[in-house]
Structure formats: C-alpha cells, structure tokens
C-alpha cells in the first residue's frame, strides 16, 4: 500500500511583516537605502498575463540584482495583467523589496483600504499612489472607470491609516500598516508652471517618496527641479527620476502619441532615427540620462521603466556607475 504524505499546512503567520527600524516608517529596502543617503534604483516589472508564479519570478529576475524596489504596476495603461497585489505578495515572500502600485481607476475606497491591509500582511511595505490612466487607452475600453479616490486623497487616506491607525470611517485598525508612501509626478507635461506646486500638495498629503513619469527632456526637468528646490521640497521627499530605454524612433513616436503623459522631444526622436543601432542608442541615451539625474541636486535616485527591455536594466545601471558607492 502506498503511503501518501500529507504536506504540512502552510501557516501564513509564520512570516509576520518586519518591524521598521527606528526613524523609518517601514521596513522596506527602498526606505532604508534612501534614508542611508544612497542613490536609489527602482525598476518597473513587466507583469505577465499568467497565473503561474514562476512567470512572475522570471519577470523579476533581470531587475533583482540592481533594484532596491521592484514596482508592480496596477494595470498600467488600463491593460489587464496579473494584479500588483499578486506580484507583490509573491516577491515579498521571496524576500524582494517591492513597490505596490495602486491605481484609483479600478477600485473604490472600500477595496483599496482593504487591499492595503492585505498587502501589508503579505509583507508589502512600500506603495505608490496613482490616479491611473483612463480606461479608454486600455484593452477593455468599455470598462467602468471608478476614480473614487484620486492619487492625493488616496495618499492622505493611507497616511491616516498608518499614522492614526484608523480607516477613513474612523474604525480602528488593530495593527496599522507600516508603509513607505509614494506618489508619482509628471514634470514634463502641462501645466509645467504648476507641476512643482502639485508636488507640494502630494508632500502635504503624505508622500515620502516620488517616482516621476518618463523624463526625456532634461531641460524641462531641470526647470521643475529648480522650483522644487526653491520650495525646499527636495528636503521633505525623496525624488526618483523616471527614465527608460527607447527601442526605436518608431516606438518613441508611438509612445508619445499613445501613452498618456509621455513627452519625448523631437531631438531625442531624431537621435534614435539617425542611429545605426537604435536599440543600442536607446540604451546609451538612458545611461546618459541616469548619469545626468545623478548630478541634479535633490534627485535621490532613478526609477527605470524598461518595458520589454528589462534585460537591459542591469547593464544600464552598471554602466552608469550609480551604484559604485555601494558594497
């Protein structure tokens, strides 16, 4: 007779969320790196359309070596993929630092406040609050857009949960989530004049760190940072500049017309057009951008969004030398 061994039941409580070090809101690697004064690197994971956890680990693999936090997108561009909650749970349990992206497009305040507790229980300690792209640009444009919160009211809601230990209804949390709160800002699109003021509002609402949208226009970004420094915001919030490698001139043109919030100046598109090896040129441009960001006062790190070019992230960071002071 064959004896079947019953596996031990998995006890989720065996891994309780880590306690934040003193002076920290969370136990996230990203927060520790930033507070220690290092130039931080985060990278966006391309979420698989799969229910196999190995696909998630495979997608994370090229980012693990260099990223202090792996961003799990929440149906970015309103396209359906495996959820950010699922990705973050898997990667947190695998010991990786993650940034749990939350978009206000698909869930209302009840779902989001609950999800944040769920994520925290699974080990997530950094979140990025986003308003989210409209449903129209995605793969299911007939969907109902929710937008109950916006990014800023969401930030304040999570800050209230963390610091006051209550839901927005006032009901007490027995264990509040220890979260490092993030938000996005887009320094390169209209209204350019007021973008720094909006950043101030995000800081006021509770942002601890900022990951910007793609920056290809360094001049625009520098003007933005001038205002940020004039307001002293760079001392109140860690700013990670968003960069990424372009694949080709055609891809660049497609992105700036079809992806909301992407501004790519003509000079960059021309440079891609004239390149013998566009893919290599895209990588070069990205390395140059990372190096430039390192020089700008008030920039605390970079956020690499290398959609379908994740294999390059490692080399981009290595060659830019921004991690040279680590180890």
């Amino acid at each position: 007779m064959i004896k079947v061994q019953t596996p031990e039941p998995f006890d989720p409580l065996l891994q309780v969320p880590l306690v934040p070090p003193s002076g920290h809101y969370s136990a996230s690697k990203l927060e520790r790196v930033l507070r220690a004064g290092y130039f931080a690197v985060t990278a966006e994971l391309n979420p698989p359309d799969s229910s196999d956890p190995r696909d998630v680990l495979k997608a994370a693999k090229p980012l693990i070596e260099v990223a202090d936090g792996i961003n799990a997108t929440d149906a970015s561009g309103a396209n359906c993929h495996i959820s950010s909650m699922g990705i973050c749970s898997l990667l947190s349990r695998a010991g990786q630092g993650v940034v749990f992206q939350i978009s206000c497009r698909d869930r209302n305040r009840i779902a989001i406040q609950g999800d944040v507790l769920g994520a925290a229980a699974m080990g997530v300690s950094a979140v990025l609050c986003l308003t989210g792209d409209g449903v129209g640009v995605g793969d299911q444009p007939g969907a109902k857009a929710v937008f109950d919160f916006d990014s800023i009211s969401l930030l304040r809601a999570l800050k209230t949960m963390r610091d006051d230990g209550v839901f927005l209804s006032g009901r007490k949390l027995s264990t509040p989530p220890n979260l490092f709160l993030g938000a996005a800002e887009n320094p390169c699109v209209e209204p350019l004049e007021w973008r720094a003021d909006r950043l101030a509002k995000k800081v006021e609402a509770g942002a601890d760190f900022i990951q910007t949208n793609y920056i290809f226009d360094v001049k625009r970004f520098e003007r933005f940072m001038d205002k940020v420094r004039a307001k002293g915001l760079h001392k109140k919030v860690f700013i990670l500049a968003g960069v990424g490698p372009l694949a080709s001139a055609k891809a660049a043109r497609w992105m700036r017309t079809n992806v909301p919030g992407v501004h790519i100046p003509d000079s960059v598109v021309e440079r891609m057009e004239n390149a013998e090896n566009p893919s290599k040129e895209g990588k070069e441009i990205c390395i140059e951008l990372v190096k430039k960001m390192r020089q700008i006062e008030g920039v605390a790190g970079v956020h690499i969004m290398a959609y379908r070019r994740e294999h390059m992230v490692n080399e981009i960071i290595e060659e830019s030398g921004v991690l040279a002071d680590r180890v």
Binding site: D148, S153, D164, E204
Partner: protein
Amino acid sequence: MYSVRLFCTRNAALFEKTYNVLENVFIALHPLLNKLGYNRLEKPVATIEALSKSFLFDCKMCGQCVLSSTGMSCPMNCPKNVRNGPCGGVRDGGFCEVNSQMRCVWVEAWNGASKMKSGLERISVVQPPVNRELAGSSSWLRVVREKAELKLSLKQQVAQGDVDLAKTEMANAFPDARKNHPSVAPLANEPQAALAEQAVVEQTSVHTSVDRSLDASVNTTLHTSAPSLQKGGSK
C-alpha cells in the same frame, strides 16, 4: 456650457467676490432658514442651485462644492473626477488625456486660481474624496448649516446628537479642506430631503452600529426629521 465654463475660469476673481458676498448673506440668514426648515428648503434651493451652476460651471451637483478652491473650474467635469488635479496625462497645449477636444479642467483650475485673491492658497489644500451620498443635494445650504455648526463646540454637538460621529474621521484626515469648505466633509446630520431614500436607510443602520454612545432611537429620529441645529436636534 463649455464656453461659459471657460469664461468663468477666465473671470475667476469676479466669481470669487460674488460668491463670498452671497455666502455671507446666506450665513446671516441662517436663523431665518432654520425657522423655515432646511428640509423644506432643500428641494427648491437645490433646483435653483443646479440651474444656475450648471449654466455657469457645467456643475454636476456633487453636493460639496469646492469651486472657490479650484479656480472656479468644476472638478466633476474631469473624466477622472480628480479633486486634486491635474493628473499626469495632460496633453500638449493643456488638453484632457481622456477627451482630447476638451481643455484640461485642472489646467483651467490652476489658471483660474492664479487670478483669484485666495485661489492659489486654496487650491493647494488637499481635498477629500467625494461623498456620493450627497449627490444632487444643495451645497449652498450645507455650507450655511456647517458654518453655523462650527460655532458650537464639537463636544456639545456630539452630546446633543447633532454630529454624525461616523463622519468625523474624514474631517480629521482632511482638516484644511474642511476649514475652507465644510461641506466636503460635513459633520451635521443631513435633512432627509438632502439624501436619496436608500442612503438614509443604509446610513441609519451604519450609524447605530458605529456610534454606540448615542441612543439608537434618537439617531433614527434625527435622520428622519429635519434637524434644528441650534436647539440641539429633534429632541
């Protein structure tokens, strides 16, 4: 109307002045309004408010107007209903990400705010999410009620059963927004006419379960009758 809407943000300073005068007149009239009964006033005032504000601002009657904090550009016209905009998707020239033919509501808002006396100060205040229970009701009457409420201490109001304790966290979480616009996180009990029937029933049950300090039966009556705030509810 779209063109009138744009006219309003261009002339935000004028509307700011007009509104401030009207608000003060309404608040001065509070004792009279209270005597007439906010419940009775709700429908006629809401109708007038909807007609005038939808003509001027394409108002959507969210019931918690923040126009003077948004450069006189109604945030409910933003396809994402963003109350703290603009989002990161604004197109070149300041057009909307979702509706490329429309000026971004929030680009207009910041431009309008920059023309107002306290516009930039107010647009910098973090606004809470919209309370959908209040949709369709009069924001004007709510402002008057709330501003009159502020004169009483919170404790006194709680003792009298005039304040919905379940709502206080929203007010705590967004204190500055409530200071400028008490109606975005209102504390006073709503007259029945201001809420959809279903919402009143739901709210009563939530209320009694959360707020144990108040007698459940008093709560129920508070929700089904007009509050007379100065006399301490419908006791």
